[in-house]
């Protein structure tokens, strides 16, 4: 159901209004004067400053690169796994408990392992993003596969199709919208782990700038980076949404 851009804009305006109201309620009191960086005025000013600094754009580029490479690697492993797990009940049974087990672990608990087994800090960050995003990708893809109308499969089997043919002609085309949904979910999770992942020895990134702002109690800058991440996330999600529309043949 799509109500159009007017409602989305209205939603965004309401959200901004809530931000203004809540921050004014809390941070304009004299005892919280030092946190007034969270207010819209200072935040937007800091965002304007950031737009003019090359450091900010380098960080945007660095973070985007990490997100995209991380999700790409997770998709490379997760999508085929999801198809197989969805298609073969035996595999589904075997993997179920393991996936549920891994899914609940905060990806950041992998940090020491990431540091030990990967040569560069950059690859450790990719690893953390992969660990965070691979489970939603596998689960959603597998769910897409299991939701296939069983009549189609029966029909194809009656006409002598083998597993490879089933997967290629029915399972994959049917699951594409689910795969894209899984990537959209992964995108959200990837941004969540990016900020703490950039605690590691990297020297740029929006998460890195948020950490810098915390180290220096510059909350206007912190809030500006939050807004920047929000905008980027929104744009990326919109791109995936368009992609999804192209492939939604149901």
């Amino acid at each position: 159901m799509r109500l159009g851009w007017k409602f989305e804009l209205l939603g965004l305006l309401l959200f901004a209004l809530a931000w203004v109201a809540v921050t004014h309620l809390f941070f304009s009191q004299p005892q919280h004067a030092h946190f007034k960086g969270f207010l819209p005025g200072p935040t937007l000013a800091a965002l304007g400053d950031a737009f003019q600094s090359s450091r900010f754009w380098l960080s945007v580029f660095a973070s985007l690169k990490r997100i995209i490479i991380g999700i790409f690697l997770a998709a490379l492993m997760g999508l085929p796994l999801g198809i197989l797990i969805g298609f073969f009940p035996l595999l589904r049974g075997l993997s179920y408990s393991a996936i549920q087990f891994v899914r609940m672990i905060s990806p950041l608990s992998w940090m020491p392992i990431a540091l030990l087994i990967f040569t560069t800090f950059e690859s450790a960050v990719y690893f953390l993003i992969v660990m965070a995003t691979i489970c939603p990708i596998i689960l959603n893809t597998a769910m897409g596969v299991t939701s296939i109308n069983s009549q189609w499969i029966k029909m194809a089997l009656n006409q002598g199709a083998n597993n490879t043919q089933l997967i290629r002609t029915i399972v994959i085309p049917h699951s594409v919208p689910h795969m894209i949904t899984s990537l959209r979910l992964a995108l959200g999770v990837a941004w969540i782990v990016l900020v703490p992942a950039e605690f590691l020895g990297v020297s740029s990134g929006l998460g890195y700038l948020i950490n810098d702002a915390r180290d220096t109690m510059e909350y206007d800058r912190l809030m500006a980076m939050i807004i920047a991440i929000g905008i980027l996330g929104f744009v990326l999600d919109r791109m995936f949404q368009k992609l999804q529309q192209m492939f939604s043949w149901s």
């Binding site: 030092h34 946190f35 690697l73 940090m111 020491p112 540091l115 030990l116 087994i117 990967f118 040569t119 560069t120 800090f121 950059e122 690859s123 605690f199 590691l200 020895g201 020297s203 950490n211 810098d212 915390r214 180290d215 220096t216 109690m217």
Partner: protein, 391 residues
């Protein structure tokens, strides 16, 4: 960095790590053989890292003929120690109790080469707080950066000398008037927690004290150097492996660090500028905050103005008396976790096993001895008396 490459490395390093686990040492044979091992420096965004950063920025490492990469900043002691163990760094600064814990609890072969700096920390309270002495801390919540830190050690020393009992409890638990609840807080969160009245005081390295002073007029209750005169805080740490296989490299690195320390001592203003984001950008802070750290405290802020201590000082020689004092003090310091390893740790033996001062002696010899750092004891130049006084 391609994925394939990192996978191959995965296999290589897990194999190495498995081997290391067996012989209880973290040596990476593949890396020892490389002809020119670069110096890999790690640091936290605190002024404790100063000598390493200055030595790099002024080209002292390169001048000694070392291949060196730009120091890499990480954001917590955990990440720093884990990266050091994983071989991402081969020379870093660490709070003195951390290598003690690594060497004697975790049995990781690390060595302390020199003191990185002296003093450099403080107990900070709100500007409107009535806490003026350790005695006033009874019944309050105090944040420390890590259980194995100089800060926890000095805080508990201060509390117990004043007849108070440090405890480790949930923040909601009731406290008797003579009890002080200690807990861990990441240093960047300390000023905000103090401002938001979640804690009554914190003890941590600069620049977080200076930041709290600058941002909301917090007050320094006591400089750490005003409690224990010119105490060590962060030390320079490396692997035994590097000392055994590349002693010349270690010597050059220590030379560069000692040289950087003399420069920092002579040029506090320039040091502040260089580290700040207005200079070479090693720390995210503006110059104004760092200038506070590199400016001597006012006499009225000090209990022992005659000690004439700097807010952060630089002196490389690891006086054994101080190491022994730390090990002895650690035995009495409350921490969370198993401390059985401390019980039968002899302070004298621990000092011998942990500290290797041959390199720093050599470096000092070449640079005019300890007198360069204002220490003169003609009879026994490499000894001193520890002055600790709590008020």
């Amino acid at each position: 960095m391609t994925f394939l490459h990192s996978r191959r490395h995965f296999i290589k390093t897990t194999a190495a790590a498995a081997g290391a686990a067996v012989c209880r040492s973290l040596s990476f044979p593949g890396r020892v053989l490389s002809a020119q091992e670069p110096l890999k420096l790690g640091y936290l965004p605190i002024t404790d890292a100063t000598p390493l950063l200055v030595a790099y920025e002024l080209g002292y490492f390169a001048h000694e003929g070392l291949t060196v990469e730009r120091p890499v900043m990480v954001r917590s002691w955990k990440i720093l120690t884990e990266s050091f163990l994983a071989g991402k760094f081969n020379l870093t600064h660490m709070l003195f109790p951390i290598p003690v814990w690594m060497r004697f609890k975790q049995k990781i072969p690390v060595k302390v080469l020199a003191w990185d700096h002296t003093n450099g920390s403080a107990v900070t309270v709100r500007g409107d707080s009535k806490i003026n002495t350790f005695k006033d801390l009874g019944g309050t919540q105090v944040a420390v950066p890590s259980w194995y830190s100089m800060h926890n050690l000095i805080m508990q020393l201060g509390l117990t000398t004043q007849g108070l009992t440090p405890v480790i409890r949930p923040q909601s638990a009731a406290l008797a008037p003579h009890e002080v609840n200690l807990f861990i807080l990441p240093p960047p969160d300390m000023p905000a927690a103090l401002l938001g009245r979640k804690i009554n005081a914190f003890i941590v390295a600069d620049p977080f004290n200076a930041l709290a002073q600058e941002k909301f007029k917090a007050r320094i209750m006591r400089y750490s150097g005003d409690i224990w005169k010119n105490h060590p805080c962060c030390v320079i740490v490396t692997h035994d492996r590097l000392i055994q296989h590349r002693p010349a490299m270690v010597q050059k690195a220590v030379n560069a660090i000692v040289r950087a320390q003399t420069w920092c001592k002579a040029n506090p203003r320039e040091t502040a500028h260089l580290l700040s984001r207005d200079g070479a950008g090693y720390l995210p802070l503006p110059e104004t905050v760092l200038n506070r750290v590199f400016t001597p405290p006012d006499a009225e802020e000090l209990v022992h103005p005659h000690w004439d201590v700097a807010r952060i000082g630089f002196q490389p020689f690891p006086f054994p008396s101080a190491t022994r004092f730390i090990v002895d003090q650690m035995k009495q310091t409350r921490v969370e976790g198993d401390t059985a390893f401390l019980a039968d740790l002899d302070a004298g033996r621990a000092t011998q096993q942990l500290v290797d001062d041959t390199f720093v002696r050599q470096a000092l010899d070449e640079m005019g001895g300890l007198a360069t750092f204002g220490h003169s004891n003609l009879e026994k130049p490499f000894t001193r008396e520890e002055s600790v006084e709590i008020n």
